[in-house]
C-alpha cells in the first residue's frame, strides 16, 4: 500500500470512527426533568357551628408555598438540601372560592418522593436575616379569616384570625416535614393540595374566645386560639399532597 492510499484509508477509517451519529443513542440517564401543574382545593362552608357557636365567614385566605419535594423521608433543611421537585410560587388561596386554585408549575425530576416541606407565606431563607412575608401573603400573614361569631341568643361579634406559620430558625421551612409519597415518572401528572380549613378552625374554643377575648376580637399570635388553629393546620389536618392523572 502506498503512503497516499494508506493515508486516505486511515483518514476515512478515522472519520468513520469519529462519527457522532454512531454513538448518539449511548447516553443513558436515570433521571429526567419533568414539569407539571399543581392546584389547591379547599372545602370551607361559609357558615358552620362549633361548640354552640355559629361561625360565619366573609373572608378566608391562605398563602401556600414554596413547596419542596424530597427524596428523603424527612424534608428538613439538613436532609433535603437537594430537592426532587419544587413549587416556588407563593400563591394566595381563597378558601371560600369553592373552585380549584392554580398553584403554578412544579419543576423537578423523575424519582421517588418521600416527603415534602413548605412555607405558608412566611419564610426565613438562608440569605434572610429575619422572617419575611411573601408579597402574596394575605395582609402579611399565613392565613387570614374574617367573619362573625354568634352564640344563640347573643349578638354577632366580628372576629379576625391572623395566623402566622413561622419557620423555627433561619434556613428552615415553616413545615419542615410533611407526608408526601409519589413515584414521579414521565407520565403526565398533577399535584393536588387539599386544604381542610374548617378542621383548623374547629381546633379553636370559640366559646372561650367570646368570653375572654377583648373587642374587637383579633386572634393573632398572642391568642391561644392562634396556636390552636396553627396546630390544626400543621398537625391535626395538614394540607394533603396527592398526585393524580389529569
Amino acid at each position: 500500500m502506498t503512503p497516499s492510499r494508506f493515508t486516505r484509508a486511515a483518514l476515512l477509517a478515522l472519520a468513520a470512527a469519529s462519527s457522532p451519529l454512531l454513538f448518539a443513542g449511548c447516553i443513558e440517564s436515570p433521571q429526567t426533568e419533568v414539569t407539571y401543574e399543581a392546584e389547591a382545593r379547599a372545602s370551607l362552608a361559609r357558615t358552620f357551628e362549633v361548640g354552640g357557636v355559629t361561625v360565619r365567614l366573609s373572608r378566608a385566605e391562605l398563602a401556600f408555598g414554596p413547596v419542596y419535594l424530597c427524596a428523603a423521608s424527612s424534608g428538613s433543611a439538613t436532609l433535603c438540601r437537594s430537592a426532587l421537585g419544587e413549587l416556588l410560587d407563593v400563591t394566595r388561596v381563597d378558601l371560600l372560592a369553592g373552585a380549584p386554585t392554580p398553584l403554578g408549575r412544579v419543576r423537578g425530576f423523575t424519582g421517588s418522593v418521600r416527603s415534602a416541606s413548605y412555607d405558608l407565606g412566611l419564610h426565613w431563607f438562608d440569605t434572610s436575616y429575619a422572617v419575611e412575608a411573601a408579597p402574596t401573603a394575605p395582609d402579611g400573614h399565613s392565613l387570614v379569616v374574617v367573619g362573625t361569631l354568634e352564640r344563640a341568643g347573643e349578638p354577632e361579634v366580628p372576629f379576625r384570625l391572623l395566623l402566622d406559620a413561622v419557620p423555627q430558625y433561619q434556613g428552615q421551612r415553616a413545615v419542615p416535614t410533611a407526608e408526601a409519597v409519589a413515584e414521579i415518572t414521565t407520565t403526565p401528572t398533577r399535584l393536588v393540595v387539599t386544604f381542610d380549613p374548617e378542621a383548623w378552625l374547629r381546633q379553636i374554643d370559640f366559646d372561650a374566645v367570646l368570653k375572654t377575648a377583648p373587642r374587637p376580637i383579633v386572634l393573632d399570635t398572642k391568642s391561644p386560639a392562634h396556636d390552636a388553629a396553627l396546630l390544626g393546620l400543621k398537625v391535626a389536618r395538614p394540607p394533603e399532597l396527592r398526585w393524580i392523572t389529569p
Binding site: P3, G65, E86, L88, S112, R114, Y169
Partner: protein, 833 residues
C-alpha cells in the same frame, strides 16, 4: 557499590529471580544477548547537492541533522540540529531521507534510533563531504559509521501496547500550548481544562475518565512523581505548572495500566514528561497579547552537554479574560545536569520550583447567564464570589544514578524530595452552607478555604538482568525494583466570610502521614522476531497515620462529652499482574493484547481506625493493531476498563466523593506522521461508553438513589477528536538569509457530555493556530487559541446553589458552568544564540 553495579553474569540473575520465584527461568539461562545499543549502519546513501542558488556565496557550510532511523532501517524523521541556512538544511534533509540503514539493535532486537549526521558543504566540490566519517556519498565506497549515536534520550522504555503513545517535539510543538498541561492534548483521548485559574492544577479527562486534578492519571516529570495523595482539593492532585513546555523533549502517555512501574493513581493511565532540550544554545522568548498577557522565557542549553542538561525559567502575568477576576502571576524554573561519572554510569541532578497565584471567577448558574443576570465571562458581584483565588508553590529536587552494562544489565536508583503548598478559596454554591461550629450561622457565603502542605520524600531502585537465552527460540530478561514514597501532609478546610476574611466554620483540620512501598517485577519473553510477551506484577503497601483534629466533632450547643479529635492508623496491600503480548506477523503490522490491574489509594481522612485501606482497583483490557507505512503510523484500539469505585466532584464540599463501580468501553483510532517531508499531522478519535455499574450508595437524604443499568457517567465526553498539524518551509530570502515560515494548528472536538439529572452539555469545537517567520536567530510569530471565538463551557456541573438571584431559592440541582477562554492572540518573539 561496585558489586551492586556490576554483578557477575552468573550470580546476579539467580539472586534476583530467587526473590521472585522465577529463578528457574533466568538462572539456568546463558546470558547471551547484548543490551548495548548497536548503532545503525548505512546501507545506501545519496549525495546532497550544493544548493545552486548558494553557489555564488562560496560558503563553507556545516549542517548537522538528527536522523531517526526506524526499526526497519528507514529514515523516519530528520530534523536540523545545527542549521546552515534553509537551502543547505533542505539539501541535507533531502539527501538524508534517501539513506537506508541496517537498523540499530539492542540485543537481538532492531530498535528505532536517533543518530547525529553532519554534512559539510564545500563550494565547487563535486560532492559535499561529511565531517570526519560521516555518511558516504558514493556507492563505490564502503558505508562509513555514523558520527554519533543517541538512543531516544536516556532510555526509551519498551512499548506496552498500542496505547503507549510517545510524542516527540514535532508532535508537541505542532500547535500552540498555553502550558505544559496542554501538551497532553496531543495524546489521543485527552482533554485538558483549567477552570480554576492558573494557580490550580489542570483538570484532565483521559479516555473516559474524569481524572479531575490527577486522581486517575499518574503524572511524572523528570522521573519525579507529581501526584499528591490525600490532597484536600482532590485525591492525586498534580500541578503541572512546574513543567516548562519548552523543556519537554518528549511525552509518554500510557493509556491503561500495563507496566509494572505504574504506581498509585495510574487508573486511566499515566503520563511522563521527559525533560531535555534538543535545540542547544541560549534562547529568549517573549509573548505579549490579549488580556494583558505577558510571558518571558530564558533557556540555556550548553552546546557540548547532553540534551538532559539545561536551565530554564519563565514568568507570566495576565489580567485574564472577563471582568477582572482571572488575573494571575506565575513562574517556574528548572535546572538539570546529566553527568558521566564512570563507564556507562550517569548521574542526573534535577531541581525545579514553581509558584502561582491567581484569581478565580468561579462557576455561574446557566439560568443566570441565560437570563442576563450575570455575564458569561463574568463573576457574581458578591464579595464571596469576587474573593475566589488560589495560590500554590512547589519545589523539588531529584538525583538519579544509572549504570548500564553491555550485556543488558542495568542498575538504576533515584531519590527525590518535594515541598508543596496550596491554598484556595472557592465558592461553588453561593449561600447554602450552615456552620457546624455555630449552627445558627448560615447564609454568610460558601467561600471554602482549602489549604494543603505536603512534604514528600521518595525514590526508586531497580535492577535489570542480562538478556538470557531460555530456549533456541526464546530469550528472557527480568527487571525488579522498588519504589517508595512518604508524605507529611497538613490540611485544613474552613468557610470564610468575604471580604472580612473571617472564619465562620471549620470543616477539616488534619495531619496525615502516608507511606507507599511498591515492589515490581517486570519480565520479558521474546520469541524470534514476531512474538514478545512483556509483563509482571506490582504490589504496594500503603500506610496512613491520620490526626483528624476535628474528628468526633461536637457542636457548640451540645453538652460536652469528650474532647474533639480522632487519631487513627490504617494500612492496606494491593497488587496485580500486568502484561502485554506483542505479535508482529509482518514487518509493518503489530498486534498487541494487554491486561493490567492498577490501583488508586484512598483519601486518608475517609479511613477508619484499623481499616484495611480500601484501594480503588482498576482492571484494564486492550487489543490493538498498529500499521506503519513509511513515515506514517496508524493504530486501532479497543479497550475496556473496570474500576471498583469511582469518585465524582461534590460541589458542596468542593472535593471528590465516592460514587461506586464504573466501566468504560471504547475504541481509539490514531494516525500520526509525515504526509510530506514538510507536513506533519497527528489525528485521533476516541469513543468511550462510560457507565455506572451499581446504584449509588443510599444516604439518609436519598435512601434509594435513582439508577439505570448502563447509566452514563456524568461529565465524560463520549467522543473526543483531536488533530495537530504543522508545516514548515523556506519562504524567501531576506538580506541574503533564508526566511522560514511555520504554520501549525490543532482542532479539538468534544461531543455533548452527559450531566446529572438527564442534562447534556453542548458540543465543543476549538481551533488553535500558530504561525511564525524565522530568519537566522530571530523568530517572530503569532499564536491564537480558540480561533473561532467559540463561547463554550469549559466544565459543567449540576448541583444546588443559591446566588440570591431568585426568591424563593431553588433547591433543584441546576446546571453550572465555568467559561472556557475566548479567542486569545499572543505575539511571539524568539531569539536563539
Amino acid at each position: 557499590m561496585n558489586s551492586a553495579l556490576s554483578p557477575s553474569r552468573s550470580r546476579a540473575p539467580r539472586l534476583v529471580a530467587a526473590a521472585l520465584g522465577l529463578l528457574a527461568l533466568v538462572a539456568t539461562a546463558r546470558a547471551e544477548a547484548q543490551d548495548e545499543v548497536v548503532p545503525p549502519s548505512v546501507l545506501t546513501s545519496s549525495d546532497p547537492v550544493y544548493p545552486s542558488n548558494q553557489v555564488a556565496s562560496g560558503k563553507d557550510v556545516l549542517v548537522v541533522l538528527a536522523v531517526t532511523v526506524d526499526a526497519e532501517g528507514h529514515v523516519a524523521a530528520a530534523t536540523v540540529l545545527e542549521s546552515g541556512g534553509v537551502d543547505f538544511d533542505r539539501a541535507a534533509i533531502d539527501a538524508a531521507r534517501l539513506f537506508t540503514f541496517n537498523p540499530g539493535r539492542r540485543g537481538d532486537r532492531a530498535i528505532p534510533t536517533k543518530i547525529r549526521v553532519p554534512f559539510h558543504f564545500v563550494p565547487r566540490a563535486p560532492t559535499p563531504k561529511p565531517v570526519r566519517s560521516g555518511p558516504v556519498h558514493s556507492s563505490e565506497r564502503p558505508p562509513p559509521p555514523v558520527e554519533s549515536v543517541q538512543v531516544e534520550g536516556v532510555a526509551r522504555a519498551p512499548s506496552r501496547g498500542a496505547s503507549d503513545f510517545r510524542l516527540d517535539r514535532e508532535a508537541l510543538g505542532a500547535a500552540p500550548h498555553r502550558d505544559a498541561g496542554e501538551l497532553l492534548l496531543t495524546a489521543p483521548g485527552v482533554y485538558v481544562a483549567r477552570p480554576e485559574g492558573d494557580a490550580v492544577a489542570q483538570r484532565i479527562y483521559l479516555r473516559g475518565f474524569d481524572a479531575v486534578h490527577g486522581q486517575d492519571i499518574e503524572l511524572r516529570a523528570g522521573g519525579i512523581p507529581l501526584n499528591q495523595g490525600s490532597h484536600i482539593h482532590g485525591q492525586g492532585y498534580a500541578d503541572l505548572s512546574i513543567v516548562i513546555p519548552e523543556t519537554v523533549r518528549s511525552l509518554r502517555v500510557m493509556e491503561g495500566v500495563y507496566d509494572p512501574r505504574q504506581g498509585d493513581f495510574a487508573v486511566a493511565g499515566s503520563a511522563e514528561f521527559d525533560l531535555g532540550v534538543e535545540q542547544r544554545g541560549v534562547h529568549f522568548g517573549l509573548k505579549v497579547g490579549s488580556f494583558g498577557t505577558q510571558r518571558v522565557l530564558a533557556l540555556y542549553a550548553p552546546e557540548e552537554a547532553p540534551q538532559e542538561t539545561f536551565g530554564a525559567a519563565t514568568f507570566r502575568t495576565t489580567d485574564g479574560f472577563g471582568d477582572g477576576v482571572r488575573g494571575s502571576t506565575s513562574g517556574a524554573g528548572v535546572g538539570q545536569v546529566r553527568l558521566a561519572v564512570g563507564a556507562n554510569t550517569y548521574l542526573t541532578l534535577h531541581v525545579a520550583a514553581s509558584a502561582a497565584r491567581g484569581n478565580i471567577a468561579g462557576v455561574l448558574r446557566r439560568d443566570d447567564v441565560s437570563a442576563g443576570r450575570v455575564g458569561f465571562y463574568d463573576a457574581y458581584a458578591f464579595p464571596t464570589a469576587r474573593a475566589q483565588s488560589a495560590g500554590a508553590s512547589r519545589g523539588q529536587l531529584g538525583v538519579s544514578l544509572e549504570h548500564r552494562d553491555g550485556d543488558g544489565r542495568r542498575v538504576h536508583g533515584s531519590v527525590w524530595t518535594s515541598l508543596t503548598s496550596f491554598r484556595s478559596r472557592t465558592n461553588f454554591t453561593g449561600f447554602t452552607q450552615r456552620s457546624q461550629v455555630e449552627p445558627s450561622w448560615v447564609g454568610r457565603g460558601d467561600l471554602i478555604e482549602q489549604s494543603n502542605g505536603d512534604h514528600g520524600l521518595g525514590g526508586t531502585f531497580s535492577y535489570r538482568t542480562a538478556r538470557a537465552r531460555l530456549h533456541d527460540l526464546v530469550t528472557g530478561q527480568l527487571d525488579v525494583g522498588t519504589e517508595v514514597r512518604t508524605h507529611g501532609i497538613e490540611q485544613a478546610q474552613n468557610l470564610l466570610t468575604a471580604p472580612q476574611n473571617e472564619t465562620w466554620d471549620q470543616r477539616v483540620d488534619a495531619k496525615v502521614r502516608s507511606t507507599d512501598i511498591g515492589l515490581f517485577a517486570d519480565g520479558l519473553l521474546a520469541g524470534k522476531k514476531w512474538l514478545r510477551l512483556r509483563g509482571g506484577v506490582r504490589a504496594d503497601l500503603l500506610f496512613f497515620d491520620v490526626d483528624d483534629r476535628l474528628g468526633n466533632y461536637q457542636a457548640s450547643f451540645a453538652n460536652k462529652t469528650h474532647i474533639v479529635g480522632f487519631r487513627r492508623t490504617a494500612a492496606g496491600l494491593v497488587g496485580g499482574p500486568r502484561a502485554t503480548l506483542e505479535v508482529r506477523p509482518v514487518g509493518a503490522l503489530t498486534g498487541t493484547l494487554s491486561y493490567g490491574e492498577g490501583f488508586r489509594s484512598p483519601q486518608a481522612r475517609q479511613l477508619e481506625e484499623g481499616e484495611q485501606a480500601p484501594f480503588a482497583k482498576v482492571r484494564s483490557f486492550e487489543g490493538g493493531l498498529t500499521v506503519r507505512s513509511g513515515a506514517l503510523t496508524a493504530s486501532a484500539i479497543a479497550y475496556q476498563t473496570n474500576l471498583s469505585y469511582d469518585l465524582a466532584f461534590d460541589a458542596e464540599e468542593g472535593r471528590l466523593e465516592r460514587i461506586g463501580p464504573t466501566t468504560r468501553r471504547g475504541f481509539v483510532g490514531t494516525l500520526r506522521g509525515k504526509i510530506a517531508p514538510w507536513l506533519f499531522t497527528s489525528a485521533s478519535a476516541t469513543f468511550v461508553h462510560a457507565t455506572l455499574d451499581s446504584p449509588p450508595v443510599p444516604t439518609p437524604e436519598d435512601p434509594a438513589p435513582a439508577y439505570l443499568p448502563n447509566q452514563s457517567l456524568p461529565y465524560v465526553p463520549p467522543l473526543l477528536v483531536r488533530t495537530d498539524t504543522s508545516a514548515e518551509r523556506r519562504l524567501f530570502d531576506l538580506w541574503k538569509q533564508d526566511v522560514v515560515g511555520r504554520l501549525g494548528y490543532a482542532t479539538t472536538f468534544l461531543s455533548p457530555r452527559p450531566l446529572p439529572f438527564g442534562a447534556r452539555s453542548a458540543a465543543v469545537f476549538l481551533v488553535d493556530l500558530q504561525a511564525s517567520l524565522r530568519r537566522g536567530a530571530l523568530e517572530l510569530g503569532a499564536e491564537t487559541t480558540n480561533l473561532l471565538g467559540a463561547r463554550y463551557a469549559e466544565t459543567e456541573y449540576a448541583f444546588v446553589s443559591s446566588w440570591r438571584t431568585g426568591t424563593p431559592p431553588s433547591l433543584l440541582p441546576a446546571r453550572h458552568l465555568t467559561a472556557g477562554p475566548p479567542r486569545q492572540v499572543l505575539f511571539t518573539l524568539g531569539l536563539t544564540l
